[in-house]
Amino acid sequence: MVVAHTPFPAYSRPKRSLPAGPAGSAAKPVAEVAIASEAEIRSGLTDHLSRLWRYGLVLSRRRDVADDLVQQTCVRALERAPQFQSGTRLDRWLFSILNSIWLNEIRSRRVRQGQGFVNAEEVLVIDGAGLTEAHVMANQVLRLVNALPEAQRAAVFLAYVEGLSYKEVAGVLDIPIGTVMSRLAAARATLSGSVTGNLAGEGGR
């Protein structure tokens, strides 16, 4: 095969840098000395309300509980505003607060009170008239994820919907990276077994 070797200069000088941009993880905070103020957190919260609510919905599978979770997350985040490190990602921090409120307060209380959880099949669906094929597919995906055990569901949501790195997922869920990996692997094994029809496409084979 003929390779046209070019006269173009080869760029050398490999050096540790961040060519891929700053959309990185909390592990690489951009240095900034400022301590976040309550007003800044409040403004950031406004931007993230819908995403927090969606995470609350994924965890609890109940809209009313999702509302509560967001509210308590807001209260807690404002109280702890001085603890937020400027330069790290606010959304990750908020997710971790919501997660811990869910695990340590709301979920355990509901279990104690014996309310349990409705198997809210229909919570994670897109409703509305005129379901297109895309909606049908989306609903299939939502149903599959909804059927996963809670721990796997949270990991799948954070990694595959919110696009967090394993390290970030581990940070939000407060678990080791190895546990993130095993939850995602288990979820993949389950999901791949349930994927059917047009969702899998012929890729499923």
Binding site: A4, T6, P9, Y11, K15, R16, S17, L18, P19, A20, G21, A23, G24, S25, V30, A34, I35, A36, S37, E38, E40, G44, L45, D47, H48, S50, R51, D67, V70, V75, L78, E79, A81, P82, L90, D91, L124, I126, M137, A138, Q140, V141, L142, V156, Y160, V161, E162, G163, S165, Y166, K167, M181, A185, T190, L191, S192, N198, L199, G203, R205
Partner: protein, 267 residues
Amino acid sequence: MSESTQFPSDEQLTAFIDGELAPDEAARIEALVQTDARVAERFELLSRASLPFGAAFEPLLSQAPKAALEAMLSAIPLPASAKSEPAPAVAGRRRFLGALAACLVAGVIADRAFIGVKRQLAKGDEGSEWRAVVAEYIALYTPDTLVGPVPSNAAQAAQLAVLETKLGLPLPPEAIALPDVDFKRALLLQYDDQPLAQIAYLDPETGPLALCIVRSDDGSAAPRVEGRKGMNVVYWATPAHAFMLIGHAPVDRMQALAEAARARLAV
């Protein structure tokens, strides 16, 4: 060889699919997938779970009772503990938080207020290091690495969906299709803790070809050409991403292919 090779765990295969392995480990797993039918089968199975998660969950955002939540938030009184420290950069931070809202739509929540500063620091050819790493990786490919049928459109879309989420860039199969070369697969790799998308093609005439994408805020750049590891590279950038097309085809053909990709991926 399969007797002596360690069969990768589901965790390792999952991390490979998700682009969470270090390059050497990823290369090891990839080699196993290529050479061991049982590993390939397990890889296929786990890959089947690469569903369009982002798109499926997107509509739930609009179901959030946004107005009610905003009202709730503004009703929370100032906590006594949160005496705001008037930091020197308050105005800047405000703008940063405001900017978050704009990025939210694209699902790109980034520390982008720092772009300006970083851009100044990141000028020069620092953006070239990732291309060197990719070239090392692609140099290991032979046409046999990419044998097999061209995945169906649905299978392509599923593979690409993973990359879309990680990169915040729409990648429909039509957009990444290149003239006269076959799409073979889309892989998520990792470079310097950042997602790196690798879309591999097979050119019947010159062999393996790859389009790679990373997030980058170094600013837009018109296509340029360079040689690496005996291959030709065309690279360019949009405001949010850096692209490179690498392969063994002659320069003018590489430029034509890059132009086709660039036109369809223009954001």
